[in-house]
Amino acid sequence: MSAIFKDHASDRQMQVKWWSSRVAIYGTLMLWAFICLFPIYWTLTTSFKLAPDVMRGNMIPFVDYTPKWKGWESLGLSPRLIGEVSTVREEFLKRFWNSAVVALSASTLAVVLGSLAAYGLSRFNYRFGFMKNSDISFFFLSQMILPPVVLALPFLVLYKSLNLLDSRIGLILLYTLMVLPIVIWIMRDQFQGIPVELEEAALVDGLGIWGAFLQIVLPIALPGMVAAFILSLVLCWNEYFFAALLTSTNATTLPVMVASQTGSQGINWWSMAALSSAAILPLILVAILLEKYIIKGMAAGAVK
């Protein structure tokens, strides 16, 4: 049957059109995927190059050049050095640990504070003086437009007098402040999607407001919370501006370390590449494994 129809002239034309549109779609997708992946590929391969390989612009490992561990050795992370004591590695791990601690605790704090506030704002009617619910929401969300430069200097002075300069706690507080509006934005959307009847039923069954929130609402909203958490984790991990201004030796995070490497005696391309790879790998893993949540989190606010 189908053979007969395919012989028809207009039908063949149709097929040509279909195929060309397929090619165009996949071509564009491939092109953009290449644009997205190439810088990452380049960094990863460069971290296994020696100076001449970098200078010649060799691209493909094992074909153009033989991979060497030189870049990773400068971080003390190559197979040869992994068993030995290495000061560079300790330095790197310290920065890595700082980044991890700061990002994780700031995100946790922001999600806890933000979820509570978002739940309250989406369920109850408040009145603080002249401020009603919408005003309070706006107050929280408006923090998003606050440019970091405005706060940077007061915080520098404030932290100096509070003895929080160059400490993790100081960074945690600031990062929490930075991601809080985003968390509230996502979570408010989440809670509004949960039917109020659920809690009313729980209240009838004798749970308090907080009991209903903790036992009924929280488990349902958990995916949203994970999304908000990951999104803030990404933002905190990558933050550079405050970290550069407010830390010097103890609490420096990875981005600051990466930025400070481009120092005096030219650039060690291979070690820079290794360092950058180490800084971005955790998040690439997060992106691949938890992509669903990230997309959910960003989609939450967009669609009302």
Binding site: I136, A152, V157, L173, I184, G208, L245, P255, A259, A287
Partner: protein
Amino acid sequence: MVWGSAAIFLTLTALQFLHDTGRSSVGFATWRPVLYAYLLWATALCFAQVIVNGEKGKRTLFVLPAALFVISLVVFPLLFALYISFTDWNLASLGGARPNGWDNMRQMWGDTFYWNALKNMVYYVAAVSVEYVVAFGLALLLNAQIRARKFFRVVFLLPLMLSPVAVSWMIGKSMLEVRFGPVSHLVREMGFEPSFFGTPEMARFMIMAMDAWTFIPFMMIMLLAGLQALPREVIEASKVDGASSWQSFKEVIFPLMLPVSVTAIVIRIIFKLKLADIIINVTSGGPGGATDSVTSFIFREYRDRSNVGYGTLLAIVYLVLIVIFITALLKLVSRWMERPA
């Protein structure tokens, strides 16, 4: 209980203030204890809400911690910033802060670099429109009937995960390296002499491109979510009515996507206004301030010249401009959306 802890807090603050200004010998080396007293007071306030107001207090308790947190970390520093911005404070000088009235304002008026940075911000914000078009196109492609959608989605998402500092190193320093960067090779193959940060226009364009590379996924995902939430029937109905795919996009999809588009663009603009990391690390504002954003300019004012008072004034002025701009934008958008299409 509240009043008790508030009293402790206030006494400590007063005591410490006197100590700092040298009028009293009693006091601590740092302000840390005052911070603890503040925390104590905040906790007491939260508990008191429940005890005094009962059920109503329990509800307040949801919002109160976040509100206290934000107020103490934003409002107080902002007021402090306002004070600093009218002083001639330079961290390198020993004298500390001295109020100098409107001098900073006058200096700003004549500072061509600041105006130049503001002008650059206009360019940078304008680039959002191009990013929007690309993001919308990609979202449409991802929403089409394709195989391996998950793979493409993950890949397209990746740039957003990378820190701007790493990006500026990976792309700005390494791939665009004039002698051996792969992009330079490509450009040379095409018959041009690579110079990415030589002329102001080119440098600005490269910064925009790098920033776009990181943030296009952000808009793309918001738009994709919008596309997926569109009612299927409407699009199918337009197909049944004989609309071509371009027509159905122009007449049906695009108008339906307007609210999502506006949200995505506004948020993107807000993020764009904070643009700094890439500029600081790749060009540090060069050549001749052509790529400077306001944030990166003030960053150098702080770090290289320690010119605290003046820098803060610039930041405050910037904040005022942003607030005016965003408010105007939102007003404009809401008026435009209400207009019957």
